[in-house]
């Protein structure tokens, strides 16, 4: 028999010019369902006006990011069991640092534009991917095979970053990680884009991006690696071998 929990889903609501407020929805769930399933149940059976984003339901599209009990989660892969208990209240809110369009849906336009500015790769040769087995293990003639890049462009890292919270012009974790992935050696124009006050040097090492990233990006590590790339490229220029 499947386990049943009774929870209260406390959902952030905000339409047009309204101030943020919360609506409570009591429901029975299987704790092995995901947070997104509970949100969908509200829309399906209780309130058709609830607005939220999702598509794939399997951690690929990056659309379902929300704050669950205050912390950024990809809701389609966050089991209810992992974030609450039987009889408790589960709070869902829209991502921080993005304008709210309606309820749980935010406008990620500015973020996507920054991914374009650094010419983020959607796919990359498998030989260049940093995956659990080191990339160097791939036979070089496998370079014809492409792989989706790790970043889902879900925006969780931007939402969690305390620097992005106060400096909207800051490129932010995912775009900087994407720049590191492309590499200044492959695209020298990136140097000017990331070596500036709203680029790689604005990071204050809070490591919140890596703490919330649902994929294998580890943006904090990549930001630091990008700094090394920047210093390398500038030293290279200084000694005339660029």
């Amino acid at each position: 028999m499947t386990e049943k929990w009774n929870i209260t889903l406390r959902v952030s609501r905000q339409k047009d010019t309204e101030n943020q407020h919360f609506d409570d929805f009591k429901m029975e769930v299987n704790p092995d369902e995901y947070v997104l399933d509970a949100v969908e149940r509200v829309w399906a059976f209780m309130d058709r006006t609830l607005c939220y984003r999702h598509a794939c339901h399997h951690s690929t599209c990056g659309a379902c990011g929300m704050r669950v009990n205050g912390v950024e989660k990809l809701t389609c892969i966050t089991p209810i069991r992992a974030v609450t208990s039987n009889g408790a209240t589960l709070k869902v809110e829209p991502l921080r640092n993005f304008p709210v369009v309606s309820d749980l849906a935010v406008d990620m336009g500015a973020f996507y534009r920054k991914m374009e500015v650094v010419s983020a790769r959607a796919v990359l040769p498998i030989t260049e991917a940093e995956i659990e087995n080191p990339a160097t293990n791939w036979p070089q003639n496998d370079a014809q095979f492409l792989r989706l890049s790790d970043c889902l462009e879900c925006g969780l890292c931007i939402s969690a970053c305390p620097v992005a919270a106060t400096s909207p012009e800051y490129l932010g974790p995912a775009p900087l990680a994407a720049a590191q992935d492309v590499g200044i050696h492959r695209n020298p124009e990136l140097l000017g884009i990331v070596d500036c006050e709203d680029g790689v040097w604005r990071c204050h090492s809070a490591f919140e991006c890596t703490a919330v990233c649902p994929s294998f990006v580890d943006p904090a590590r990549r930001i630091m690696a990008l700094r090394t790339q920047v210093i390398g490229a500038k030293l290279g220029k200084l000694f005339g071998k660029a």
Binding site: G70, V71, P168
Partner: protein
């Protein structure tokens, strides 16, 4: 959208809700940094007054026996130790050293900080 400062943004830096270890370390670093900077100004003002002559100096030494001033001094020492050690962690990780172990580095440095603070507290109050 721009980088203009505002009071809301200032307070947002110190909100610990929905943050994790690295974020709390960032908040601690910023609070101690501002505290130390404030103390630096205080210190310069007091030093300036000490230069007014022996009477002012004597009055100041008497002040250091005040328990509240003494606690304040301990807070300054604690802030300097925590900020300095955390600063070393940030310098390491900025050079790519221990980035994936930043949490453990923070815990480790804070244990060292606690021991050092207790050591200074013992010297101030019992020595």
């Amino acid at each position: 959208m721009n980088n203009q400062p505002s009071a809301n943004k200032f307070w947002a830096w110190f909100n610990p809700m929905g943050r994790q270890v690295g974020g709390w370390a960032f908040i601690l670093n910023r609070i101690t940094a501002l505290g130390l900077t404030f103390y630096l100004f205080l210190h310069l003002i007091v030093l300036n007054q000490l230069a007014q002559g022996p009477a002012a100096y004597g009055g100041f030494i008497a002040l250091t026996e005040n328990p509240i001033v003494k606690l304040g001094e301990l807070l300054v020492v604690a802030a300097a130790i925590m900020h300095g050690l955390n600063g070393i962690r940030i310098i390491f990780t900025s050079f790519g050293i221990g980035v994936t172990r930043q949490k453990e580095l923070f815990y480790g440095f804070m244990v060292v900080a606690l021991v050092a603070i207790l050591f200074f507290a013992a010297r101030m109050y019992m020595g």
